[in-house]
Symmetry: C2
Subunit: 338 residues, 2 copies
Amino acid sequence: MTACKNKQVLLISRPKGIPTADNFQIVESVLPVITRDQVLVRNIYLSVEPAMKGWVSATENYAEPVALNSVMRSFATGVVIDSLHPNFLPGEFVTGLFGWQEYALVEAGVIDRKIAAHSLPISTSLGVLGLNGMTAYFGLLDIGQPLSEETVVVSTAAGAVGSCVGQIAKLKNCHTIGITGSQEKVDLCRQLYQYDQAINYNDEKFEKELAQACPKGIDVYFDNTGGIISDAVLQLLNIGGRIVVCGTSSISNWEEHPIGPRQERKILVNRARMEGFLVFDYKERYPEALAALTEWVSAGLIKYREEILCGIEKAPCSISSLYRGKNLGKCLIQIYKI
Amino acid sequence: MTACKNKQVLLISRPKGIPTADNFQIVESVLPVITRDQVLVRNIYLSVEPAMKGWVSATENYAEPVALNSVMRSFATGVVIDSLHPNFLPGEFVTGLFGWQEYALVEAGVIDRKIAAHSLPISTSLGVLGLNGMTAYFGLLDIGQPLSEETVVVSTAAGAVGSCVGQIAKLKNCHTIGITGSQEKVDLCRQLYQYDQAINYNDEKFEKELAQACPKGIDVYFDNTGGIISDAVLQLLNIGGRIVVCGTSSISNWEEHPIGPRQERKILVNRARMEGFLVFDYKERYPEALAALTEWVSAGLIKYREEILCGIEKAPCSISSLYRGKNLGKCLIQIYKI
């Protein structure tokens, strides 16, 4: 390999709330020469996640904030183009935290896994067969523990995680209710993701519609939003209800200490369980989840959608676009055609 | 048995918030004649519980509200004085939901258990060897799941439940911190209940003192209060922390929808679990808890205190007295000397 140029997206300032294009800068650097047992990956797809809002914030999070003037943290899927590590060969497809950049020169430990050869597109490794699918799998099954015929409610129901949660719950014979933010997504929930009911939280009658959709109350709430959507759901929680706290996307800024109705009494009276979880804590069980998800997706039992933007120049504004709720599927940026 | 008079405490109106003497009336009724397979119990000790505030409220609770103009619901311990049921004999001591009254003519199903013969006073059957002790036992061990050397924080730490939680946690080799409401109770926590530290939440420096007492953060929070005390505790929660929601005594009125800081993000980032529980759900395992508690109390490993008021006339004002936080131990009303 001769030295080559590497376009990178750097985080140059911390947003207040949702990150916008202004918080990033695209630079071109010279790629260092591969050394020791490193692996050089050419990124094909970059991932865009709601969680990125937390990653770039200096406020409390589960990971160190991305340092200023460093490459934006991101999952990506790419192809090995050079390797000094015996486990990786040029031509193999791999996925990991490769960052928003064209090339990633990484230690082997940064690579999450090779992408198994199957008939599904490699882009799925960042969505339904990646962290999104696995988040749905472990969050719903391990934390939510839905039983047959229970009512499962999902917020951001048409999103990359939510859509998968709804479909796994359906496979477990649950009554599934999706909460989402537009009529277009309501239709997607009903038609593609097979929710029994879907509700637009922007509707004036949202609370009433939710109550009507859950005549037997709510047993499991897979919460991707927090905030007033969750307040409404908790009103309908059954005794022994479980709240899987997976995301808080409805709250744009935690630095201002948002307030809401106290839930202690509800949790007590209903003997409910509210539990946060992080998919990274399940690393040892990723193979289990991937095997199940691959089988379900291959058999057409779980549907997925992707919205693929082209070119690394789309990266800086992609997070804010996600929070505007306009995308209809997993958001990816393709930066290399194979 | 000839017909006899029965003094009873009736609930005559619903309080806004904490029940006061005005909400009750003492009447004298004629005891019906024993019939079928009933048991006639002469109550010796009546119990006074913080939970009674919930029982008399028409707002959501885990039990039907006590009906107006009926005998106040209460646990009591008494002696069988007449029985048409083969399992119960005159002279046996029993405990159950006998109500605030001198005599309880009950079906056998209302009797929770006979009180085993041991060297501890029968009054303990309503406290440390009753629901209070069992609440501590199941809440801490089943929901809180403390590990050796973890930090366990208890609110209402000197109370009938809290004092038992702190001591069981100590038996499990935890670092124990009690939160309570006066210097007198702080001393009690340190000296009698052997907390490693005890803090008065009325102190100006409460939050700072709490942080200093928990240099390794908080792993288990046994929450009897909710409200701003709990808000402070949650600030110090460790990853994987558990919040046992057992009571909400710091909130005097839930009808006004109290608000507070949203905790979703804390729960998520810390992969924490907040879980409500109710001791009545553990009925089948009461013998296990009673055996352990009896052993610990008999061996002097768990200390307890009781404050015994004399005469049924003390019942109507006993709940509000409890909420003023002046009592230093399990509050009982003795209405019969044996």
